[in-house]
Symmetry: C2
Subunit: 235 residues, 2 copies
């Protein structure tokens, strides 16, 4: 605050805090159903409480946290059904975007994709989950940006954000990260070859592993004790 080096605008600060919390959720540092106490977060992140408050409101709107009046905010736990519904929409949106990319694709897009993919591969190799997550986001943004409709891209990102709470299972798994890396490479190749059909198929396929891993994990670990046993498939 006092240092003149970084005097961020208030809105940017809120965004920054929201992004930081989002990362902590994605990386599994904050788990589903975990309570998010305003004052504690304010102290830990070195901002005032009302900034945390606004950030939580933003994350609530995005769908990453739940807030109940007078009781606070929690990391949202997605039900398997919800995850399936969201991934269904994601599939529709992402294949739509892939189908709209003008081919042959602009060379600038390919350059950027290669660069980002290199970063992603390096992060995966180094086992740096946070860097891999960021590079992964950047990759998909660069890829879908090529469709030419920023509002469609925004929707795709919003839906991806919704399941970020479900990503903590795959975001830290080397196997999943390596698979994603290889699939990214295949996508770029398809794009480069102008093979739209393959690109669309790859986008569709790319969504499945994280979805299924999450559903399996949530059914094994986060099931409510309503049935008695820890792992209750359905109430």
């Amino acid at each position: 605050m006092p240092t003149s080096a970084l005097k961020l605008q208030t809105t940017d600060r809120v965004r920054g805090i929201a992004a930081a919390l989002e990362e902590e959720i994605v990386l599994g540092w904050l788990l589903p159903r975990e309570r998010l106490v305003e004052e504690e977060l304010a102290e830990r992140l070195a901002v005032k409480r009302h900034v945390v408050r606004e950030a939580l409101a933003e994350l609530e709107r995005v769908g990453l946290v739940e807030r109940v009046p007078n009781r606070g905010a929690f990391v949202k736990l997605l039900e398997p059904l919800e995850v399936r519904q969201i991934y269904s929409v994601r599939e529709a949106l992402e294949t739509l975007a892939a189908a709209q990319v003008p081919l042959p694709v602009a060379s600038a897009v390919l350059v950027r994709l290669h660069a980002v993919q290199k970063q992603h591969a390096a992060a995966v190799e180094a086992g740096d989950a946070r860097a891999a997550f960021r590079a992964n986001m950047a990759f998909h943004e660069a890829l879908f940006d090529a469709c030419g409709n920023p509002h469609l891209v925004e929707l795709i990102q919003a839906m991806a954000q919704k399941v970020h709470g479900a990503r903590s299972i795959t975001a830290a798994s080397p196997a999943h990260l390596k698979l994603a890396r290889d699939e990214h490479a295949a996508m770029v190749a398809a794009l480069e070859a102008g093979d739209r059909e393959r690109l669309v198929g790859l986008c569709r396929q790319h969504l499945l592993p994280s979805r299924d891993a999450y559903i399996a994990a949530v059914e094994a670990r986060f099931a409510r004790p309503s049935g008695g046993v820890v792992a209750a498939p359905r109430p």
Copy 2:
């Protein structure tokens, strides 16, 4: 506060204020580029400033207003290109939803649609733009709800909300309202008949009038003085 009858929760109050502002924008009572002063709104809507502040933040996230740090909030003016892009996405989403509605449709859906449509028709007949707007929203929600994927419905609503600032042209026009009413009737009929193809076509068609009316209006009235006439709506 004193009366126990209406003790709204804070979150609900923010939502309520945001919704009220949204309606004022849709109905053309607040025009694009118009300034939204926090204190003035707080007094007019009988809430404290920080509530207005949060509501404005929410409307900014939705895309209905723009906020620049230390300078305040304005009703967002959508560029024609943006409107085209948004409507393009809306078309994809709404036809997707229509294509997913299980046929024959549940009778409860039809009952609800008929009821809402009756309200809408009454509002149109009475020339009550606000009631028509609300009934219109309810109609589309009820219609797309039938697709069975609440997350898709949410996206459809979010995209509709984005162009609410563009709706002030058609929301007050009796001709447009009557056309919408008739198209709604046709949609219900198609749904009732189980004619999916016609339903999808009607959904697609239903989007065009408001889009084109807005683009025409914005090009005629709100053009920046860079090349065109200056139309300052308020002194």
